[in-house]
Amino acid sequence: MLHATKVRTTVRRRNIAALAVVTALAATAVAGCGSGTGSGSSSKKTINTWVYPVINDPKANAAYWDGLVKGFEKENPGVTVKVSTYPWANRDTALATAIAAGKGPDVAYLIPDQLSAYQRNLIPADQWMPAADKAAYRPAALKAVTVDGQALAAPVLMSSYPLLCDKKVFDAIGETAYPTTWDQLAALAPKLKAKGFYATSYSGDTTATLNMTFYPLLWQAGGDVFSADGKKAAFNSDAGVKALTWLKTFVDNGWTPKDLVTTTPQIEQTDLAKNKVACTWQNTAAEVEPFWGKDNIEVGPALGSTKSVAYGTVGTLAVFKGANDKLAGKWISYVAQPKNTAGLQTPGGYFSPRTDAAPLYPGDALQEATEKVLSSTDVGPLNKSARDVMGLLAPQIQAALLGKTTPKKALDDAAQAADQLIARKR
């Protein structure tokens, strides 16, 4: 009896000990996960900066950043800047987990859609933008970094996605006029198909950002993703239905490769790379140049229907909470100067977000034509539910394109789910 009691006591002790270990581990893990958002540290003299291969060539990328770091450190003795270049792939996963673990960067390269996603973690960049600097930015660039009336980051580059057409394809069908509107592109499509070409190549893969694929059509039709106050989905408007119906006509008639509605192969494996696609609004000139050849790229304006709008992005540098905000702010202001950003912009064919910058591509007709489109670009909605809404909308667009549902029903179903989501997130 005594033995049985002893055994029970031992077992109970073991259970309590095990429970304590479990609780401690859980507490440690939860505490670890929650410690990524401390307030700024004014004693910190190191600025950890995360960038991505905006400059494709690793050597050129390293040389560019090394040069800037040396210049900045010389002007600010005692300060150390560490620049780490991470791959584009899964960058949000890496950034989110690093922030959660308290190992996030002080400064990072972000695009506008990330600004709203990380808004809680950022220190607004307004304070480091003198009025003269602010006035020098292109309105589209400044709009792209402004969330709730505050500039969250300093723009360092811009890009635009005008309608690009392949001259080889147009020569093959004996056409000399390039389309600039939906109607013109649709009118050419049957002729192109008869000769074995696609009018365009629409990527409906749900991993592709709608900012680059469907939203430009929505904007061109006169619609928008969210209502003006950002509290409701607005993509199921008449404009949205018009855009999706137009796109569905292309899929149904074989005017765009059907496989691309669900998958995105490497560009080398696509019809676009094989000179089988007439026009695209989802690629830059730099992307198609290796396959089409520079001389065969015809840069048009942004495609238009009710209005002419293209997707364009703005690359920015943002300061994260936990950084020495004074130093980090000084660093991003330094990098954002036109003389310092030129080296970042030219290798990838990007443009300056400022109007006071020296011309980057004098005499380059292709780049000059692309630059003209910058004023009619949209970076996509800066709403904190933007990504979640995209996740709801993209599969519905796919369903409509594959004939599983009608464009109207697809957009209405997505809007209904989106409204619930937006309400929950507010």
Binding site: L25, A26, T37, A96, T97, T207, A208, T262, T263, L402
Partner: protein, 303 residues
């Protein structure tokens, strides 16, 4: 009474001598690093995941305990039910066929013949091949202009991309899963097959048993523990299907291949909704445990 008898017949535990105790301590010392790593990188995150499932944890925001809110939300989330259905259907397709394919390959390469080692290596190759890389090749294979579509045409079936069809996308991904996993199953079954005494099969042959009877009554019963092991491993693996889907379809068309782990990934890393993602992880964990227990009841009765 029976209990008393059992107690009295239970062998007395032999007291270990100082030498044995020392050996045991050394053994424990060897195991300790692995155990600590397991605690830190498996058990700890697992428990943290369970705890986070009951919170509204979002990166950069204050975390609150929300009780069962995430699970209630899940019950009303059509995407959760859709991704659960996709995961189950995928598992139903992939697991049995992976085991069958593994068995076929193991039986083919069981006996030593000229080149048998080469064949075993070739069959095992997909296991050590990156599924991400392989998936990019399979995108082409299953595309409208790919060889799979041509093969379907030769068989008189519609020539189409299986990845754009809601009904065919999961069989296509399951084929990739089977291709990538059957080499591992083959290895497990092959190891077990080596232990089946040849005399038993020879005696059955003398008694006039055909190949199917020999397999049914002699080989298959010996393979039961290996089948159980494979069923558990493959089910767990198929419940976690993500990489092939991520590369090949992105969950499409129209969520027809959007699995539970894909939803978990999106919730956690795309939408920063880590509380909900953790709750999805809890459900996946419970599912895996329940299925393993059921498999144990059905397949592992004797062992």
């Amino acid at each position: 009474m029976a209990a008393v008898a059992e107690r009295t017949t239970r062998p007395q535990k032999k007291r270990r001598g100082p030498h044995e105790r020392r050996e045991a301590r050394i053994g424990l010392l060897f195991v300790l690093p692995c155990f600590l790593l397991f605690l830190a990188f498996r058990f700890g995150p697992g428990i943290a995941g369970l705890v986070l499932g009951f919170t509204d944890y979002t990166i950069g925001d204050t975390t609150h305990f929300t009780g069962l809110q995430n699970f209630q939300r899940m019950m009303h989330d059509p995407l959760f039910w859709s991704s659960l259905r996709v995961t189950v259907v995928y598992s139903v397709l992939a697991v049995p066929f992976t085991i069958l394919a593994s068995l076929g390959l193991a039986l083919l390469t069981r006996r030593a013949f000229r080149g048998s080692r080469l064949f075993r290596s070739i069959f095992f190759l997909p296991v050590v091949t990156s599924l991400i890389l392989a998936s990019t090749v399979f995108i082409w294979i299953f595309s409208t202009k790919g060889p799979w579509s041509d093969l379907m045409g030769l068989l008189g079936l519609p020539e189409q991309s299986w990845l754009t069809d809601s009904a065919l996308v999961l069989p296509a991904i399951a084929l990739v899963g089977i291709w990538s996993r059957c080499g591992y199953g083959m290895l497990i079954l092959l190891a077990r097959l080596q232990d089946v005494p040849r005399e038993l099969e020879e005696a059955a042959l003398m008694d006039g048993a055909g190949p199917f009877q020999r397999f049914r009554y002699i080989v298959a019963p010996q393979l039961k523990p290996a089948f159980f092991f494979l069923a558990v491993i493959e089910t767990t693996n198929s419940f976690q299907i993500f990489d092939a889907i991520y590369v090949m379809t992105g969950g499409g068309p129209a969520n027809a291949s959007y699995s539970l782990v894909y939803q978990l990934y999106d919730a956690g890393f795309k939408y920063s909704d880590l509380g909900y993602a953790s709750a999805l992880g809890c459900v996946l964990f419970v599912m895996t445990v329940v299925v393993a227990l059921v498999q144990r009841m059905v397949l592992g009765k004797e062992k």
